[in-house]
């Protein structure tokens, strides 16, 4: 088998890359190790309204509900309400992630990309040190796929980067270990995505409750692997659900586990190789959200691949246009949010409670740094000291 490009992984980053490359006339094959695109759903299923501006995915089949905003609960239960515009990457819409992924894959196939399921990459084909394609197992059959560019869209546990010499092993402090239920017959759901913070609730992470309509909710937890013990994520989530009256007569339709990189991005180009999405750590280190990044970064990757194939230039230098452009788009924000993540880890529950108490009546629509600081210190002057590292980051970036 020979293609211009082989994309390993049929998640959003892989299929969007494939689609834009195919639209530029590139001969693309996507391989997926699982039996079905988009399944299992390893996701909280929230996405920002930014998606409306992008023209990458249309239709409503994948949409479970439009959110009015987010509520963030501090450890003592104080609630800070944010409108959808202010709530960042994770709210806006709640989606059916399996349908969403399959729609993106459909668009890639429609643009001319080919897709093979049940095909697990097992190694790179190299010739005199140069990447020439990948080896894979399709069901029981060993196959070789020649390609000028290999795209590693192979997720949090990416091997493609490692095989090319990029160290993608995550430190436990850079990984959120997660699990998630989809519950039916949940009471008192509205149009808000709820987040619960606290060292006892979800150390180094949060619990989420996202409504999907008809009394269905995606409820899950992410905790930092460095603060985790065996089976802790599930235990904490089960404990939360057992105490929340909304779930009294609810039962799960689905239980799944996932892992999310909350790290600084790695090197994303080599000769004949590109990394995208979770494999490249294109995830917001604070929220663990990555869907909008995948769409943004995949489009850039596809366009650069289009040019590379046209020019027959697959060198790291040529492909580095991709890295330059994704860094312009999301690099600065990712770096800043990584620093904020580190600072937040050092903050105790008391500080989060004070923060929430200061912000609960704050009108975020008038958001400016000065008015925000004024609101923060008005009630709790000691916050000024605690938040000093955060302000330093804000000033520097």
């Amino acid at each position: 088998m020979k293609y211009d490009v082989v994309v390993v992984g049929s998640g959003p980053a892989g299929t969007v890359t494939a689609r834009f490359a195919a639209e530029a006339g590139v001969n693309v094959l996507i391989i997926e190790r699982r039996a079905e695109v988009g399944v299992p759903v390893l996701c909280g299923e929230g996405i920002s309204r930014k998606i409306d501006e992008w023209n990458i995915i249309k239709g409503t089949r994948w949409m479970a509900g439009k959110m009015e905003g987010a509520r963030i609960y501090s450890p003592d239960g104080t609630c800070v309400k944010l409108s959808a515009e202010r709530a960042g990457n994770e709210t806006g819409y709640v989606i059916y992630r399996d349908v969403f992924d399959q729609e993106l894959a459909r668009l890639a196939i429609e643009a001319g990309a080919e897709l093979m399921t049940n095909t697990n990459a097992t190694g790179l084909i190299k010739e005199k040190g140069r990447i020439r394609g990948i080896r894979a197992k399709h069901f029981d059959e060993e196959i070789e796929i020649e390609a000028d560019i290999v795209v590693g869209a192979d997720g949090v546990d990416s091997k493609i980067g490692k095989w090319a010499g990029i160290d993608t092993t995550l430190k436990p402090e850079d990984l959120e270990t997660c699990c998630q239920y989809t519950f039916a017959n949940v009471k008192n759901l509205d149009s808000y995505c709820d987040f619960y913070l606290g060292k006892e609730i979800a150390p180094g992470g949060y619990i989420w409750v996202f409504p999907k309509g008809k009394g269905i909710a995606n409820v899950g937890i992410g905790i930092l692997a460095s603060l985790s013990e065996a089976g802790m994520a599930k235990k904490l989530l089960d404990n939360f659900i057992s105490k929340d009256p909304r779930f009294k007569n609810a039962h799960p339709l689905r239980f799944l586990a996932g892992a999310v990189p909350v790290a600084l991005p790695v090197e994303t180009v080599r000769d004949n190789l590109i990394l995208v999405g979770d494999a490249a750590r294109h995830v917001d280190p604070i929220t663990g959200g990555g869907l909008t990044h995948c769409l943004e970064v995949g489009k850039i990757a596809g366009e650069v691949i289009g040019k590379a194939v046209k020019e027959k230039n697959f060198s790291k230098e040529f492909l580095s246009e991709y890295e330059t452009r994704w860094k312009e788009a999301i690099g600065k924000k990712m770096k800043r949010n990584y620093m904020v993540k580190e600072i937040m880890l050092d903050m105790d529950d008391k500080t989060f409670n004070m923060l929430a108490d200061s912000l609960k009546d704050y009108k975020f629509d008038e958001l400016s740094t000065f008015s925000l600081i004024k609101a923060l210190v008005k009630k709790h002057p000691t916050l000024l000291m605690k938040l000093r590292p955060l302000m330093k980051v804000a000033k520097e970036t």
Partner: protein, 62 residues
């Protein structure tokens, strides 16, 4: 008797791939929707055991 090596209970594993992502020796691999440990490569660091969200990994002395 050697140190305990990681072992995945495949009936509990949900293939979240957290363990594969944090293993410092690349000793865990994905096959057919489950994680498996290569016990020759495993260095008994137990990072995977603590990472597993559902407690599917434990130490076993071979």
């Amino acid at each position: 008797m050697g140190k305990p090596k990681a072992k995945v209970d495949v009936s509990k594993c949900l293939a979240c791939c957290g363990c594969i992502s944090v293993c410092p020796r690349d000793a865990i691999y994905w096959e057919g929707g489950k994680a498996f440990v290569d016990k020759v490569k495993c260095i008994s660091c137990a990072i995977c055991i603590r990472t597993c969200p559902v407690g599917a990994i434990s130490g076993e002395v071979y």
